[in-house]
Amino acid sequence: MGVVNSILTSKWTKVVVFALCLVPLAVLVWKGFQNELGANPVEFVEHWTGDWTIRFLIITLCVTPFRKLLHVPQLIRFRRMLGLFAFFYVCLHFSTWIWLDRFFNLSDMWADMLKRRFITVGFAGFVLLIPLAITSTKGWIRRLGGKRWQLLHRAIYLSAIAGVIHYYWQVKSDERKPLQYAAVVGALLAWRLGAWLYKRRQKSATDNRTSKEPVTAETA
């Protein structure tokens, strides 16, 4: 446990994780220079960055369950970075759409936003992440207060759900990949619901005990 602890708390680990988070982008750029983005490179970049957005949302959502289940609380050090990388990849995804795909045809994009539910829900998921990215600093935690900050940052649950629905509604017929993502996000959210229910039951049990104690003391 000592080795694990020193690895997880080393500042170099953070550098390594940061570099790893850039690998999907590096592979994409490398493929671009190797002319390996295929016949429809715009679509390729859209799918690549979209995929990695959902994956980083999932990785971010893994932090808390892994901390608790594997007893490695130090993982918390990486949560902000992972969440911000999810935001980074969704920004790439969104800019690919407005620039390379639609070339700033704003009226057309606006019509799409209102008319096409997969774009509506995807955009909503993206917008929800913006306040989280802005308030990810220590200063904002202090300004908002831990409780309120935590409540705000639960919006990532909605973002992840929106991301999966966006993907599910986008595919034409083969729904295997979006359903796999849905299963993983579903499991991660179900764990949270379970943990919350368990905690509430324990809390009410202790509350009952403490409230009963004086009674038992009197009757004793």
Binding site: L37, A39, D101, R116
Partner: protein, 323 residues
């Protein structure tokens, strides 16, 4: 057919045998559907991108046909590595990888229904119904991308006239090949197979409508619908059914695959129309493949730019209703 001239090359002679008799590749393909190899396959695809398809064979005696566009032809490699052929997988690179060992010889197309002379045609028969022509058509996918392809074939009407449709024939139904042993990805595609398409009789008989046996000077690659397919350039690509095994002249509008699967998105007519948007995508613009990542989207034309030839087929019809 029995009147085959002995001196002439037959279609089975020009089909590369190696393309379908490579047993080791076939066995590896079977293996690759198993779990252990799948992981590696995904990883190597992830790193290397789609593979190029099988090598087709040069077609001789092809004359320049009518209706060709002067626009730049899309690089052949793009047309053979980026395909919608869901029987071979739903990824754009899947057909070029999974159709490598697809058997296209022997091949029979049954032409039947409301006709005086129903026929079972071999590829040799099909190759000599009419002189082969090269026609450079725009091809617009409903997914808002387009290509310019030098197809080889002849007007479908030549085949229709051979079997002599009766006055009862109002529509033509097309059926593509389907076989889960050769197309193990098919059941996961999420749409019913065999793939079905259809045209109204006047659409099928229009001179633009092509029965296609080749492209880029050669026979069709497997992933592009070998050995014989339809090409209807004013309609979205999915109307142009690939790897045809049955052509049926019928009285009533036949069921078509995408229309059956998602009727609100895919109509029977499916004419290219920038003003009528299917639910999923805006059809106002398209990406012409082959232009690179920074190429701008181009405006989509009504009837894919073939309106001067085909708009009259739909006069008086509300194209918003009959999309």
């Amino acid at each position: 057919m029995d009147d085959k001239p002995a001196s002439k090359l037959t279609y089975s002679d020009i089909t590369p045998k190696g393309a379908y008799t490579n047993r080791r590749n076939f066995l590896f393909g079977m293996l690759a559907t198993g779990g252990a190899v799948t992981g590696w396959k995904h990883f190597s695809n992830w790193m290397s991108g789609p593979a190029t398809g099988s090598v087709p064979v040069k077609l001789n005696n092809v004359k320049k046909g009518p209706f060709s566009t002067a626009e730049a032809i899309t690089p052949e490699n793009d047309v053979t590595t980026y395909n919608n052929f869901y029987e071979f997988g739903t990824g754009k690179g899947d057909p070029s990888r999974n159709a490598k060992n697809f058997r296209t010889s022997p091949w029979t197309v049954s032409v039947e229904g409301e006709v005086k002379k129903p026929r079972k045609l071999s590829m040799d028969d099909i190759m000599k119904i009419a002189p082969l022509e090269e026609r450079i058509y725009r091809h617009r996918c409903v997914e808002a991308w387009s290509i310019v392809v030098p197809w080889i074939g002849y007007s479908f009407s030549a085949l229709a006239n051979l079997v002599e449709p009766t006055p009862k024939a109002k529509y033509v139904a097309f059926e593509s090949y389907y076989d889960t042993r050769q197309m193990p990805e098919g059941p996961s595609a999420g749409i019913p197979f065999p793939y079905l398409e259809g045209l109204r009789m006047d659409e099928a008989m229009h001179p633009l409508t092509l029965l296609c046996v080749g492209m880029y000077g050669e026979t069709l690659p497997n992933q592009d619908g070998a050995p014989v397919r339809m090409v209807i350039p004013w309609k979205y690509g999915y109307k142009s059914a690939k790897s045809l095994v049955k052509i049926r002249f019928v009285k009533n509008q036949p069921p078509t695959t995408w229309n059956t699967a998602t009727p609100e998105w895919y109509g029977f007519y499916s004419n290219v129309n920038p003003n009528v948007n299917t639910v999923r995508w805006s059809q106002a613009t398209e990406h012409r493949l082959g232009g690179g990542i920074f190429s701008r989207p181009i405006p989509t034309q009504i009837f894919n730019g073939y309106g001067d030839k085909v708009a009259s087929l739909y006069s008086g019809m509300d194209l918003r209703k009959y999309y």
